[in-house]
Subunit: 402 residues, 2 copies
């Protein structure tokens, strides 16, 4: 397998943009990414486009990538449309990595794009709800104790997982609120983020209850956005002229797996994907200089500390409160503000994480810059099979000297 | 790049099965494929699942592959959901090929599955119509002279392309009817085919006009079905125990590209993809012992003769009438009956073509067996960007002695 690099990244602001379309968002992210990489569209060998619910929200199925990219002059090359729910963008990035690692292509585009904000909030919840087996909806709702319909079913699933996590770890709602406070602090320095106002523990706890123990501010918002990356071999970097001009970002591990949904117990896909990524990169948790993890709700960040191997479940709050996972800590987590505050346009999130890692590793993250990071990890999950995620993706990126 | 083989194939019957679901169809094709390859689910490294309109027809978006495969015990591995309209299955097969060629995986599954037949025919036409830029629908309808709504827009597009082909080649409607007569003859020997009754030139010409010059029998039918393949490296073949027991089928070329939709004139993606595949395999048209091509309407078969380099446009009918492209001819085309008669469950078709080639190359095609073929080609197109296909895929397979 060849060495693979991220030659450039770009993303739109994330937020609720009623007047912006899937096309508009996708094209902006691609244009900024091409500019960042210094690559002309004519140099691209292939494109991998992740999107989750565009078919239901916009009516455009099957060829969303072509429809978005063609007016930019990106045509005549292989274009693949990839769906894996909230892990659609990281799945697209993985396929891009795979094509370059194999020597098949030298310079390819990965795009994640999503449009969730419309006048019809309930339709958006229902669209997101198609990331489960829709024929088993009643069964999955029962399994996770769903009691209301005015929210995505994923809030019930996360709440159920959170209750189990609290029971075995002793972690509290105040700890989850602490995650949100940190995320807002971080997002304040991120111009692409959806929620950038500071908040307090009390404000988070006092916000509307979505499903106990989750309050509204503990849940990632509905939003729109797009993020992209140019993935390149060494030859591709040379072709793009990236080599000489700045720190290189190398992909050290790219893992996608589905959960083992037929077994019960605690979901294991995040642990397994992280383990596989560590093994592929020859690294462990103590090597992480930063991580962007899938905090669709605040408790997921503490769970991730455990899955990453940073702490036992009961010790995860200490990492937060002692600042270990703050921007200035030893293992910063979600310096971008994460899904909670950068926002979660579901099919774009995985590539927004890649953008953040790339900027951080290149020292281009501005007010939220982590001090000289060398190794970063992303974790991005999607869909739910009743006992585990449908897709779980982990990437490890490194600022490379070679 | 490593050598890549088709270790086994399987498909459902194609047809209108009102009582069968996407899951049911997909699982049958996978089960038969695993049996054909002699592979246990536990041996699979990854799965690539092509489907086009399942989200609109069944309400299941984003994780269709996981939902279909998980109850078979296929979980814990990477699963990717791939959409490329009528080329979804060949796109999934290409990604499977790419993962094995790269050395990333040794034994992977490619599945194409589609459910089109429901009580609501108009809804199916509308779903298929999302394989264009839905925001440019009026413009594309105008461009191709669409006059009615009781059919898929693709019939208007094909009719328009056909009129242009007739004008420059002198090919007639009788020639197109001849393609259908041949397809029915071939399909009579294919138990998986949807239409197996013999027909006549007059019957084809006298069937209801869909859009001039196309009659109903010149158009591939709405239908349901699934087809799959196990794609393997040499190590994967060893693991599966396929090596010793039968002729090996090797993938000599795997090409996917989008059309160059921003330019006018005749669509060039089929020619370009075929040229690239010939170049990758070091072969030319005279090497083809058979081809399975994308005859969504009958004229497409004659156009394909030209694109394949078998004849100039005006000479294509002679190939048909002189039997050159019949099962016993020098270059048999669509011995399966093609899309016209095997049927066209759109996201399954590309892998049904791979099934047919594999069976033919292994000498397992029964009454429709071509005499000892060594080289076969598939061509599968999907979606429409106004002037060219959104996705065009060509594969070359060889019965391998090495």
């Amino acid at each position: 397998m060849k060495d693979v690099f991220v030659a450039g990244v770009g993303m739109t602001h994330f937020g609720k943009f009623l007047s912006r379309s899937l096309k508009d968002l996708g094209r902006q992210a691609v244009t900024e990414t091409l500019r960042d990489a210094g690559v002309d569209v004519a140099a691209l060998d292939a494109a991998y486009v992740g999107n989750a619910v565009g078919g239901l929200i916009t009516g455009q199925e099957m060829i969303r990538g072509q429809v978005i990219l063609s007016p930019l002059g990106i045509s005549g090359i292989p274009i693949f449309n990839v769906e894996n729910a909230c892990a659609s963008a990281s799945s697209a990035f993985h396929l891009a990595w795979s094509a370059v690692a194999s020597g098949q292509h030298d310079l390819v585009l990965a795009l994640g794009v999503e449009k969730l904000a419309t006048q019809d909030r309930q339709a958006t919840f229902e669209a997101i709800g198609t990331a489960i087996d829709v024929e088993a909806r009643a069964e999955i709702e029962d399994l996770h104790g769903r009691t209301g319909q005015n929210r995505s079913i994923f809030m019930d699933i996360y709440a159920d997982l959170t209750r189990a996590f609290m029971a075995r770890s002793g972690v509290s709602r105040e700890d989850f609120a602490g995650v949100v406070v940190k995320a807002r602090q971080n997002a304040a320095g991120n111009e692409h983020a959806q929620y950038r106002q500071p908040t307090t523990i009390d404000e988070v706890l006092d916000s509307r209850e979505v499903v106990w123990p989750l309050t509204l501010h503990m849940c990632a918002p509905i939003g729109d956005g797009a993020a992209a990356a140019i993935v390149a071999s060494r030859d591709g970097l040379d072709r793009a002229g990236v080599l000489a001009t700045r720190p290189r970002v190398q992909v050290r591990a790219s893992v996608v797996r589905s959960g083992t949904s037929t077994t019960g117990g605690e979901p294991g896909s995040a642990r397994a994907a992280i383990r596989d990524a560590y093994e592929a990169a020859g690294l462990g948790p103590m090597d992480l200089n930063l991580a962007e993890i899938h905090d669709a709700t605040a408790p997921a960040e503490l769970m991730a500390y455990e899955h990453l191997g940073l702490a036992a479940a009961e010790d995860t709050p200490a990492l937060l409160w002692e600042g270990v996972t703050g921007i200035d800590g030893e293992h910063p987590v979600n310096p971008s503000g994460g899904l909670l505050c950068r926002g979660h346009p579901i099919g774009a999130t995985g590539l927004a994480q890649i953008c953040e890692l790339s900027w951080q590793l290149r020292g281009r993250a501005g007010r939220r810059q982590v001090d000289h990071p060398r190794i970063g990890l992303t974790q991005n999950g999607g869909g739910w099979m009743g006992h585990d995620s449908a897709a779980m993706s982990v990437h490890i990126l490194e600022r490379s000297s070679g």
